[in-house]
Each structure stands twice: as C-alpha cells, then as structure tokens.
Amino acid sequence: MPEQEDDKLQPPMHVRQITLADGRYMIFYTFGDEAPEAAEKEGDV
C-alpha cells in the first residue's frame, strides 16, 4: 500500500513519559499531527 495511504489510515502516535512522585512511570499516548508538550522522554511512532 502506498505510504501516503498508510499515513491517512494511521495518524502519528506520540509517546510522552513522565515519572510519578513514587518513581513509577506513566506514558501518555496521543494521536494526530500535533505533538504534545515535551516532557522527560518522548518519541513519535
């Protein structure tokens, strides 16, 4: 399938990870063209 069609079917997924007060991690997944605010660790998939 052409790449352009893949992009339409699958909007970018953004991954933003934070560390909670007790040391556990929490990962926020958002989708769409706009990336959320930067935090400790993030990436686009």
């Binding site: 699958q10 997924m13 556990r24 929490m26 926020f28 997944y29 989708f31």
Partner: protein, 328 residues
C-alpha cells in the same frame, strides 16, 4: 511483599503479592483513581486534566522491575525468586462511564496501536520472556475498578497456559508441517456454524472445544505470530472485529457483558516460534442472563472444563447480534 514461589507439583511459579490485599476496591465514581485529575477535585493516579490513552506501572503490582528480596531462602524442592517483571495498567479512555464495547472504532484502533507498542517495548527488556495483554471486565470476574482499563503483565518466563499452546502448536507443526491455528481457522470458516463474524483479516468464532458457553476466539486469517507483524490494515480490521464481538456480547442480555479478554502471541525470549499464531480469547462467565459459570472441582482441580451448552447454538445466538461497524 512480593515474591515468586515455585510449585514443584505443577512445575509453575506462583506470585505472592501481599500488598495487593489493600488495593483500591470499587470506589465511587467521584473517587475513581483512574479518571483524569480535574482542577479542585480529588487527585487521581493521573496528574493531568485529560488524556487519550495512558499506560502506567501498577501501584499494586504482582511483578516489579526492582523487586524486594524474597522473605524465604530457596530450600530444595521449594524454589523462590524475586518477582521481577512489569505490571502495567492501560487506561482506554478518560470517560469513566463507558466501555470498550461502546467505544468508537477510532479509539479501539488507538488501543491496538498502544498494545503493539507496549508488546514491542516490554519485549525488549532482557528480563522479560512474555508480554501478556489482558482485560478483566465486570465485577463477576473480580474487577475492583470500573473505569475502562486493561492490564499488561511482562513475565520473566513463558506462563503455563501459553507454554501448553506452544507445545501443542509445535507438535502439530512437527507432525504435519502446518500451523495448528491456521488449520483451526480454516476448519471453523469451512464449517461456518461456529463463526460469529469475519473480515478480510480476522475470524471470530466460538471454538469447537469452547470451555465457556460464550467463549470467543479472534484469530488472524493470515499467519501472524504477534501484533508486531500486523499491517496497518490488519490493525484496523482487528479494531472492527473487536467492536463487533464486544457489542454483540452487550446485546446478548441487553447489558454490559463481563468477560476476561486476553491476547496470546509469540513470547519475547528471543526464540523464533514460527509455528505459533496470534489470537485473542474471551472468557465470559455468564452462561445465562442470571447464571454464572463457576470454575468448580473438575475445572479447577482436574483441568477438565464442563460446558453445559453447544458451541454451535451459542454461536448462532451471538452471530444474530453482530452488526456492521463504520469509521467516522
């Protein structure tokens, strides 16, 4: 305190996790720890006023990245080890009052992509041999928090049920040169009477060997070992068939239908497992609108399930309730 204790009779590990006794139990909606934290309101586990999908380490985990040392030393036939692994909670939506069955295809598709990402990321950890994605839904299966969510356990070993499936699939491949689940899907689609729904990429059926009255399996029609091998179209088709099956479940007794949902896919221990095949299994505890199927003596003590119903009849009931789905 948490540790893994070995059962020498069954050759299996048992997680002892005493901190789970005090975990949050059926709080009222205003005190739901999985909702977003709204300004001026009760601080929840999620320190933001909104989210799409969130994954975090379970506050009451059975397995931890940095576990404590066990309270007892290994002693001959009684082996014990730290409960090393990962337990994650996956919040499907910020909406406390909905369910995955009622969610849009777009949301379920997002979840499938998150599942894939977690499977791949947790599978890279050198202490993880198996990434197990599942959902417990409804008080009837022991759910303690109603907010729509699932869990992920990253085990330091291949768990017993999956191990047995792998052995059966390997044996079938050695004997026939074919994938067992490919053969099962082919038989179910040919027989038709146990099929609930299908699309280009998936078949949903009550299996020939169903143990629960409304047990449904969703299996890829092409040979895929895990979510990591899915195309974008297969991820979308999975969202479609999940929605169809879960919505049909809710129509059965005209109420939100309890179930255990689990994903069986290839282990992450570095071995090939080319003979294994991705599939999802649903174990619903309801056998009628009013009655539960309990795991009693034969099931729990001997491992032989007794199904009081015919798979073909239950499949006909569910199939009649499946409706087309559409993307926005």
């Amino acid at each position: 305190m948490s540790e893994l204790r070995f059962n020498p009779l069954l050759g299996e590990w048992v997680a002892t996790a005493t901190q789970r006794q005090d975990r949050t139990f059926l709080p009222p909606p205003d005190f739901c720890p999985l909702c977003p934290t709204k300004p001026g309101h009760f601080p929840t586990e999620v320190p933001e006023p909104d989210y799409d999908i969130v994954v975090f380490e379970n506050r009451f985990p059975s397995l931890k990245r940095n576990p404590d040392e066990p309270v007892l030393e290994p002693d001959g036939i009684y082996d014990v080890r730290p409960s090393k692994g990962v337990c994650e909670v996956v919040l499907y939506t910020p909406d406390h009052y909905t369910t995955l069955a009622a969610a849009s295809l777009e949301r379920i598709f997002k979840l499938v992509r998150v599942w894939r990402h977690r499977y791949e990321e947790l599978g890279k950890l050198d202490f993880v041999d198996y990434v197990f994605i599942f959902e417990n839904k409804g008080e009837a299966v022991g759910v303690t928090l109603h907010h729509p969510h699932g869990q992920i356990y990253a085990y330091p070993f291949v768990p017993p049920v999956v191990k047995k499936e792998l052995e059966q699939c390997s044996k079938h491949f050695d004997e026939t040169g074919r994938c067992l689940l490919c053969d099962i899907v082919e038989k179910e689609l040919a027989f038709e009477k146990r099929v609930i729904a299908q699309n280009d990429s998936f078949a949903a059926y009550i299996p020939f060997f169903a143990r629960y009255p409304y047990e449904v399996h969703i299996t890829t029609r092409n040979h895929r070992k895990s979510l990591a091998e899915f195309s974008v179209d297969e991820e979308r088709k999975l969202a479609e068939i999940l929605k169809q099956v879960m919505a049909a479940y809710d129509r059965l007794f005209d109420r939100s239908f309890p179930y255990i949902m689990l994903l069986h896919q290839a282990p992450s221990d570095g071995k090939a497992y080319d003979y294994y095949h991705f599939h999802i299994e649903f174990y619903p505890p309801m056998r009628t609108a009013e009655k539960l199927k309990y795991l009693a003596g034969s099931e729990a003590g001997a491992g032989m399930f007794i199904n009081d119903t015919l798979a073909e009849e239950k499949a006909a009931e569910l199939r009649a309730l499946v409706e087309p789905v559409s993307w926005k």
